[in-house]
Symmetry: C2
Subunit: 385 residues, 2 copies
């Protein structure tokens, strides 16, 4: 924890575990009679309960989006963008970030106990769709006495949730901010997810998902899954700049068979190992399936303009030039559908060499674009009688 | 085997195993006292021994480039391009295609017996560089009484060998054809190879490379490795056209948790499984390392123009618009270096949606470009007194 804390930090934060004792009917047909959400909130809810801003996390995200946990040296995953005076301004918004169900950071998920069996859900946790996260977040609203979201904001899978929010509960949000996202995954996106899943499932320590009971954990498979994902989060350009062909071990002297290791190999293996110690394999399988299954317009005759015609909020769509996981073209498809549906939309393509990960990283233009949009939203909100 | 065989096929072919009883000094310092190459040859060597054309295979290639093996329904891997009247015209060229050492299709490699131990080399096979393949092919020339290559031709890793040929033995080739290749791998290229290697090595059946002695085989790891490679061989565009989001199993009806499988998942798993039954894991590790280690200009002060200044042959460089493994820009770098070195070079960027695999697939423009270039080479050769 830096000493003193930065002035634009939300400071020391603690999460709260909120029990939602109302049934949550999932898209797969199962019903969770009750579920729990681990949540962090920053800022203050106004008297009208309408200055709340929902942060939707992506595949590996969680509730700890900003500020510092006691004793931690690193802040939450979106601290560059959330805090007093930051683009997501906690002086103006009541910022709410839950870990969503199905993940592995305290909220109900594969690591939780299935009340029907008294044992962990593990691989038997019900398959989820983005709409299930939205419906869970809808119940969270009531639990926190929020009447309306000033904005629902998310990157990647978070952007998909934000779009789904605008279709499922159009009357409950003013703004929808969709960052580095897409209306559905491409075959290539699905392919990378499937390789990651096979890496996990073919690890003998996976034990058909029952690894916790077997006292094992598919660490190798999960590390491989993350390594595959990680390459798709970075741009070719950035990897070239950061690592190029630099060597960590050995050299290419003729006459030696000594091993050679490139810096990129070392980095990537480290990223994989770090992740496999911090994430749950069943959750990874479940959430990559959510990504694959997401298709904004499936229930709207595959016509995204028809889908967005139901929305009432205003949209901001942001993409990054070097993102090849969800390239700018995918954001332009969203924008085109919004325009066709007559929606109010502001689109920014941010020049960045950081690839998909750019949505998490400092970037002045991005900060200006997001901050400017949300400042206008806050001003309009504060001007309401 | 089609009945009758196509008129432009080289017909029924058999390979020959050629023993090269001369020492081959490898870049790593080890010496193979003798080695064997499994080779196919098509066409006839002329009296001067100078109409030979060397085919350099890529990562997973082998000696069976054209024609049909007795009883096979599918021809060799480059049959679209090799045959009487085809771009690599067996009426004019004596086409030679060896499986290179270190691979697993009959030539000396990890599956061969190490004479020093009497047991398979397995993981102890010496690490190789592209130049070792070139030096082995140099010895093959003598064994086949070839005095000069009319052309050395290869795609991907094969293109790297072809370039290396033009630097190591500049006086022994007239033409060098470099297809869908690069002067060195990028950090992203290396990253994908490293994930593939880790997939193999972390498969418990790999047994540190000693799987043959353990009666096992890292099938899962090798399948994963191939799946990763395969995605990088196809373009996003092509995968979208061929598979899109089509489903093989299940549907997205609300209220069901029944599994859903996309066509792309099924296809990719099938490709992985097919490959893992046909390739050797130690060879895969070894050859991906060769790819990573290749750096055309490393011994030339990292100046490719300085490297190519030593060459004497003419070059054709071909790239494919949708290839993202070795994108057209990588070929343009080769061309720029050749131009800077004052070499004669012809460059073609072929419009294709097939990604890196385009170099193996039918494409009229590509056939015309390669065929036209080699026809001119053949005419010049035939006009020699």
């Amino acid at each position: 924890m830096p000493e003193p804390l930065p002035a634009d930090s939300v400071g020391i934060v603690t999460s709260q575990l909120i029990t939602i004792d109302r049934p949550l009917a999932l898209a797969c047909g199962e019903v969770l009679a009750s579920h729990q959400l681990e949540v962090e909130c920053y800022g203050e809810l106004n008297a009208r309960g309408d200055n709340a801003l929902l942060i939707c996390h992506a595949l590996s995200g969680h509730h700890h989006a900003a500020g510092y946990h006691q004793g931690d040296s690193r802040p939450g995953w979106w601290d560059h963008y959330i805090g007093p005076g930051k683009p997501i301004d906690t002086n103006r918004f009541y910022v709410v970030c839950p870990t969503n169900i199905g993940s592995c950071f305290g909220s109900t998920g594969p690591l939780s106990t299935n009340p029907a069996t008294g044992r962990p859900w593990a691989a038997s946790f019900p398959p989820l769709r983005a709409r299930d996260w939205v419906n869970s977040q809808r119940l969270l609203m009531d639990a926190l006495q929020i009447n309306r979201w000033a904005a629902v904001v998310g990157g990647s899978l978070g952007g998909m949730q934000a779009m789904r929010w605008s279709l499922e509960y159009p009357e409950l949000l003013d703004h929808c901010v969709v960052i580095a996202s897409a209306m559905k995954l491409s075959a290539q996106n699905i392919a990378f997810n499937e390789i990651a899943r096979r890496a996990i499932k073919s690890d003998p320590d996976f034990c058909d998902g029952d690894y916790a009971n077997s006292g094992s954990s598919p660490q190798q498979g999960l590390a491989l899954a993350r390594m595959i994902g990680h390459v798709t989060y970075l741009s070719d350009e950035l990897m070239g700049q950061k690592f190029g062909r630099e060597l960590r071990i050995g050299d290419f002297t003729t006459g030696t068979a000594a091993p050679v290791q490139f810096e990129i190999e070392s980095y990537l293996n480290h990223q994989g190992d770090k992740f496999s110690g911090a994430f749950d394999a069943n959750a990874y399988l479940l959430i990559t399936k959510m990504l694959d299954y997401f298709d904004l317009a499936r229930e709207y005759d595959n016509d995204p303009a028809k889908a967005f015609a139901l929305a009432q909020c205003q949209y901001q769509v942001i993409s990054f030039s070097s993102d090849w996981r969800f390239a700018p073209q995918r954001s332009r498809e969203i924008v085109n559908a919004l325009v066709a549906a007559g929606r109010d939309v502001c689109y920014c393509e941010i020049d960045s060499d950081q690839g998909h990960d750019a949505f998490l990283l400092p970037n002045r233009r991005y900060q200006q674009a997001l901050g400017g949009y949300l400042a206008r939203a806050a001003s309009a909100l504060e001007a309401r009688i």
